[in-house]
């Protein structure tokens, strides 16, 4: 976790920002961030600012994702795409160890090569909250995930404050955005109008301050700060939301709510939501050996609670019906996560809404559950369901 520091505000123009990626590379970082590929914004290696999807924005609705070209040349005009930063910190496929056997002698070789040092460029506030949520899951328990910890420790984060929000976003209601408050080294608010293309920069750590010094910046004028704040305010005007007051209890006390049956009729159990969700962390392990049995490997891969096999024990799965699996995902995300790790598992990024082929909208699900329960179940205490 990057320690929160007094946010010094500066401005950097587009020309100066060109130095950022080469500078980070010279410090040994692999810079990754949003790029346009196959009609979507995904996260991949960045060599220069021109690799960013300049001038592109996105339209997102349940089961709908389209990219459009604007003329303003914004670098960070798109919202969250189908990928999240967990692909780097908690990789989809990673080898845990190799093991060799010879004449009865067995040797384990841990894959402990140097972990990649990443610099993330373009992390949204919701994504900062998601990284923090995964920090709790994977490093704060009695056992830490060694792979995540190694990748997380060296991480440099350049956050981006959203200045627009696709229709599926609901970070404002979850209290996770659109403004990035902590957990970053630098945070950029992009301003691009006819006069200039520049960035108001918040410094979030000593490492961030040092990088900013190398790039060179000017103190941000009050006018620019005001424009930056206004731009972020626009992103906060979101049409979707989850009422977080008493959310944990509303969800956890409605295990038998009739809504689950209805939603099960639409859900395909395809698991898209778990793949695109930035906080979903479930994995499975696979063992394989070569033909003569002298070498074996153990791999860890992403898994999804929507699969039939996920809950398999002696001859059957505990969660056989799609209803039980959808319910498990939602109740875990919005209620039991809090019991386990503190805070909410949902950061309001809206990806699950966009990428669900059936267009199931988690905000609508919660509204439906709330509307059909008697008032007395609503929690008395104020509980915004946030970290």
């Amino acid at each position: 976790m990057v320690p929160a520091a007094e946010h010094v505000r500066a401005t950097v123009d587009l020309g100066a920002l060109q130095q950022l990626i080469p500078l980070l590379e010279s410090r040994g970082y692999q810079v990754v961030g949003p790029v346009l590929r196959d009609g979507a914004i995904v996260y991949d290696s960045l060599k220069k600012l021109e690799d960013l999807p300049a001038g592109w924005t996105d339209e997102q609705e349940p089961a709908r994702y389209r990219l459009n070209q604007e003329k303003d040349g914004r670098l960070f005009g798109c919202g969250p795409g189908p990928q999240s930063w967990k692909k780097f910190l908690h990789p989809a496929a990673v080898r845990l160890f190799q093991i060799e056997r010879q004449d009865g002698d067995v040797r384990i070789a841990e894959d402990s090569g140097p972990a990649p040092r990443y610099a993330f460029l373009g992390v949204r506030a919701c994504e900062l909250a998601a990284i923090e949520a995964q920090d709790r899951v994977l490093t704060a328990g009695p056992f830490a995930d060694a792979i995540y910890r190694r990748r997380r420790n060296g991480l440099f984060i350049v956050a981006v404050n959203c200045t627009r929000a696709p229709a599926t976003c609901f970070c404002a209601s979850m209290g996770t955005g659109p403004r990035a408050r902590e957990g970053f080294d630098l945070a950029l608010t992009e301003l691009n109008d006819h006069s200039a293309h520049l960035f108001v920069v918040d410094v979030g750590s000593p490492q961030g301050a040092e990088i900013l010094r190398e790039i060179g910046s000017r103190p941000a004028s009050a006018e620019l700060c005001r424009r930056a704040d206004q731009a972020v305010e626009r992103a906060a005007a979101q049409t979707r939301g989850i009422e977080c007051d008493g959310l944990h209890d509303v969800v956890s006390e409605n295990f038998d709510h009739p809504r689950w049956e209805e939603t099960a009729g639409r859900c395909l159990a395809c698991g898209n939501c778990t793949m695109v969700c930035p906080t979903c962390f479930c994995t499975s392990v696979e063992d394989s050996s070569d033909v003569d049995g002298s070498r074996a490997e153990r791999w860890r891969r992403w898994d999804s609670c929507f699969t039939q096999a996920f809950s398999y024990i002696h001859g059957g799965s505990v969660r056989q019906s799609v209803k039980s699996r959808y319910r498990q995902w939602l109740m875990h995300k919005l209620a039991w996560w809090k019991d386990q790790f503190g805070g909410s598992g949902c950061v309001g990024c809206g990806r699950c809404i966009t990428w669900c082929p059936a267009g199931i909208d988690i905000t609508e699900e919660i509204r439906a559950v709330r509307e059909r329960i008697p008032v007395k179940i609503q929690s008395e205490e104020s509980d915004d369901g946030n970290a």
């Binding site: 024990i313 002696h314 001859g315 059957g316 505990v318």
Partner: protein, 154 residues
């Protein structure tokens, strides 16, 4: 007769029974004994006994052709045995084999039925106690049906 009354009164099945009823029932009672391996009753035989077990274990067996008899339940000291004396048609539904030497009180079924006909309050009291046993046995049997230890079972 007096000793028998005390033995019957002390059996857990009749715990808390009104002494007046006890006197009525004892008239149907006698002391019985079975050697280990003997059959107390066979499936299909006329059922006219209600046993209060005092010592030993009885195996309730079901027999199907081409297979060894399967014991579906055992009862022992402080348990009771038999309800077909109460429910028409009065035939034993399974075999009852003494696993070890049995000492018991046998209450004659016809005698009990006649007394219950004449005294419905006694009948209600007896029926209530038998139903409680039946309920426990039914529950246990249902759980046995689940075969929870089978390897395919969750």
């Amino acid at each position: 007769m007096e000793t028998l009354e005390r033995i019957v009164a002390q059996h857990p099945f009749f715990e808390g029974l009104d002494p007046a009823y006890l006197k009525l029932l004892v008239g149907c009672a006698s002391n019985v004994r079975f050697e280990a391996g003997a059959y107390l009753f066979r499936q299909g035989e006329e059922a006219n006994q209600f046993y209060l077990l005092r010592q030993g274990r009885v195996a309730l067996e079901l027999y199907e052709p081409h297979a060894a008899p399967m014991t579906v339940e055992t009862v022992e000291k402080d348990d009771v045995l038999g309800w077909s004396w109460l429910v028409a048609p009065h035939y034993w539904r399974c075999d009852g084999r003494a696993v070890e030497m049995i000492r018991a009180i046998a209450l004659d079924g016809k005698c009990l039925r006649e007394k219950c006909e004449r005294n419905h309050d006694l009948g209600y009291e007896l029926l209530g106690r038998v139903v409680r046993i039946l309920e426990q046995r039914l529950q246990s049997t249902r759980m046995q049906l689940l075969d929870v230890y089978a390897s395919h079972h969750r």
